[in-house]
């Protein structure tokens, strides 16, 4: 009997040998379940993966399952591309499994009372700092800035210039390419603003608190302690290794990468707060595609259950730095030991209670592009934060009108 084939698209948005980890999981699963053959297909960045998956869906041959941004949920529902997991959850064990995930991750996984995505490659934004540079700047290397004010003060001290007055090390660096809105959420959230409603039908980009948060980001640049213009997401870890940036904001998914490549002692901390603490969750969920056969869907479900078991989740977290998706995973001996040895690995999880959902709406690509464009316009000085956000709001309203 030929095994059921489960094609599976996945993205990579961080450094490190993610592909190998996934391939190993798939191989192990197939070994345990000879009736199912899981074929992982690396599909590029998150952006490219959703394009691929939807393209495949439209042509009638989607992958059986995919890891895509949790925020793509509404888009996938609107395109009638995915099925809810509730269809497969039958036994009490299944129900228990569905209830085992951190609630923070479920915010972007459920809509209309159904579960559309299963958390897997999940993250929050965290702050990495270079302890050596802290020491050089006369700062306490063990004490990360905890507020906006402290961050700005520390960054000012950390910024170094060479003889010609050119900056050789930036105090702080928050990337603004790829998904600037997500990194911006570290600022808007801590400033007490939520960008979208739960139904994904309305956004509040022009909230004064949002504008204020953006103003803070812009001001970091104006103060000469944050690189000007748009900062590449991809090169940010490299900038950190090269000591071109003393503090960076990036996903916890980069943790293992940074651990391996940083040739200096570094710290990992929660995002500095302002009116509150907080950071958006991020990363990818599993989805099951509608146009595959029931047998394939069932097989995919089994695979998803298998890969999110605590031991696997723990392994995944250790290999990458992503947050293990359930409390149970943190109770496994391996992750316990790892966390003890390397407390930085727990920071993202500890930040979860303060976390908010990543911006997700209907027609998500378009709405987030509107915000991204606005953010970039403000960061590059083309528009004032207020004007940029007002225009983004208008554009988003226009797009979302159809979903009201």
């Amino acid at each position: 009997q030929t095994p059921v084939e489960v094609q599976f698209f996945y993205p990579v948005a961080v450094g490190g040998p993610i592909t190998k980890t996934i391939d190993d999981f798939a191989a192990a699963f197939t070994k345990e379940h000879p009736a199912i053959k899981v074929t992982p297909i690396y599909a590029g960045s998150y952006q490219e993966s959703i394009v691929k998956a939807l393209t495949a869906h439209k042509s009638g041959t989607p992958p059986v399952t995919s890891v895509l941004l949790s925020t793509d949920m509404f888009t996938l529902i609107d395109e009638d591309a995915v099925v809810p997991f509730d269809n497969f959850v039958k036994t009490p064990q299944d129900k228990a499994w569905l209830g085992s995930f951190y609630p923070a991750f479920m915010q972007n996984s459920q809509a209309g009372g159904k579960t559309w995505g299963i958390p897997f490659q999940r993250s929050t934004v965290v702050m990495y700092w270079n302890k050596d540079l802290f020491k050089q700047a006369g700062l306490d290397p063990h004490q990360a800035p905890a507020t906006w004010a402290e961050l700005k003060a520390a960054a000012t001290k950390l910024t170094q210039k060479d003889a010609s007055g050119k900056v050789s090390t930036w105090g702080v660096q928050i990337p603004s390419s790829g998904f600037p809105y997500w990194l911006f959420q570290t600022l808007s959230t801590t400033n007490g603003a939520l960008l979208a409603n739960e139904a994904g039908t309305a956004v509040k980009f022009d909230d004064p608190k949002v504008i204020e948060a953006l103003q803070y980001w812009v001001d970091l640049g104006k103060a000469g302690i944050h690189p000007p213009g748009v900062v590449e997401w991809g090169t940010t870890p490299k900038d950190f290794f090269e000591k071109k940036a003393a503090i960076i904001f990036t996903t916890t998914g980069n943790l293992t990468n940074i651990k391996k490549n940083a040739k200096f002692d570094f710290g990992v901390g929660m995002i500095p707060g302002n009116v509150r603490k907080g950071s958006p969750t991020g990363g990818g969920n599993f989805y099951i595609f509608k146009k595959s056969s029931p047998a394939q869907q069932q097989a995919a479900f089994e695979f998803i259950q298998w890969i999110t078991q605590p031991e696997r989740a723990a392994q995944w977290s250790i290999d990458t730095g992503y947050v293990a998706v359930s409390q149970a995973a943190y109770n496994t001996p391996s992750l316990k030991a790892y966390g003890k040895d390397f407390p930085a690995a727990l920071v993202a999880r500890d930040q979860l209670p303060a976390s908010v959902a990543e911006l997700s709406t209907h027609d998500n690509q378009r709405v987030t592009k509107a915000l991204n464009d606005g953010l970039q316009a403000a960061l590059t000085g083309n528009k004032s934060p207020a004007q940029a956000m007002k225009e983004a709001q208008m554009e988003a309203d226009r797009i979302l009108r159809a979903y009201k």
Partner: protein, 279 residues
């Protein structure tokens, strides 16, 4: 004999052109919602869409710079390697190499050149004591940066056409001009250049098409950013069509692109071609 080719052309060129036009008058089907006749709505959206206009302006700028720059460089290169010059074979190869390299691949290398702080341009400008600059991250330079890559990629390709044309020019024309007392410069302006006119038109048309087709490097360098500062029509079309899945709006944008290209074709056919053939 003609049939197979014509069928394929009809299927992948003419039919799509027609159906694009038709689609642009309908709405995008989504999930359960079927598409309906919306008249000029998609065009109305386009007129009101600042990103479209930005892409259009960028594209005109991109084409307006790439075309003359790559053609004049191509001409200069061809004139050089047409003569008996030290290392001519190497020069030809050097100029032509960009043509055979995949744009998507070399864009990664250019990305390094443009990278802030430790990129090649930065290292050079640091060595010269110039201020540092975020080439791809600033709206003022992003478009220029991607344009430069296009010029680099195109010039060598066009050079080959000029070279072929120069080599087929009668060598005694040069001697006749010398006897008549013409300097190299006079010879170029009064003889070579006018005789290269048909080639220039051919190259011009190609450069024009490429000016609206070359977007591969954007995928690596800027993805149209920052704030659409470097987005081009075809790239925007890709985003609208395959990222936003608004196929009806994408059809409207396609109609605009096709009109630009067909307009150019007609211009070439009726105006330029008439004026440049001597034989």
């Amino acid at each position: 004999m003609l049939l197979p080719a014509l069928v394929l052309l009809l299927a992948f060129t003419h039919w799509p052109i027609v159906s694009t036009l038709v689609d642009s008058f309908f709405s995008t089907p989504k999930g359960a919602r079927a598409s309906v006749w919306v008249g000029l709505d998609n065009y109305a959206v386009m007129v009101a869409d600042p990103v479209f206009w930005k892409a259009m302006r960028n594209n005109l700028w991109f084409a307006g710079v790439t075309i003359p720059l790559s053609i004049s460089l191509a001409l200069v290169m061809a004139l050089w390697v047409n003569e008996r010059m030290l290392g001519r074979a190497f020069l030809r190869m050097a100029y032509f190499t960009p043509t055979v390299l995949p744009m998507i691949a070399v864009a990664n290398i250019w990305l390094f050149f443009y990278t802030p702080q430790y990129g090649l341009l930065e290292q050079i400008s640091a060595a010269l004591g110039l201020p540092s600059h975020n080439w791809l991250g600033s709206p003022s330079t992003a478009l220029g940066a991607v344009t430069l890559v296009a010029v680099w990629k195109e010039a060598g390709f066009f050079m080959i056409f000029y070279l072929a044309a120069l080599q087929s020019q009668n060598p005694s024309l040069r001697e006749a001009a010398a006897i008549e007392g013409a300097s190299r410069w006079t010879f170029f302006w009064r003889v070579q250049w006018p005789l290269l006119m048909p080639t220039t038109v051919f190259v011009l048309v190609n450069a024009f098409i490429n000016g609206f087709r070359m977007v591969d490097h954007l995928f690596v360098l800027t993805r149209g950013g920052p704030d659409n500062a470097s987005t081009l029509l075809l790239f925007y079309l890709y985003e609208v069509g395959f990222s936003f899945w608004d196929t009806a709006y994408a059809a409207a944008i396609t109609v605009v692109l096709v009109s630009i290209l067909v307009g150019m074709a007609l211009l070439q056919f009726f105006v330029l071609d008439r004026k440049v053939h001597y034989q």
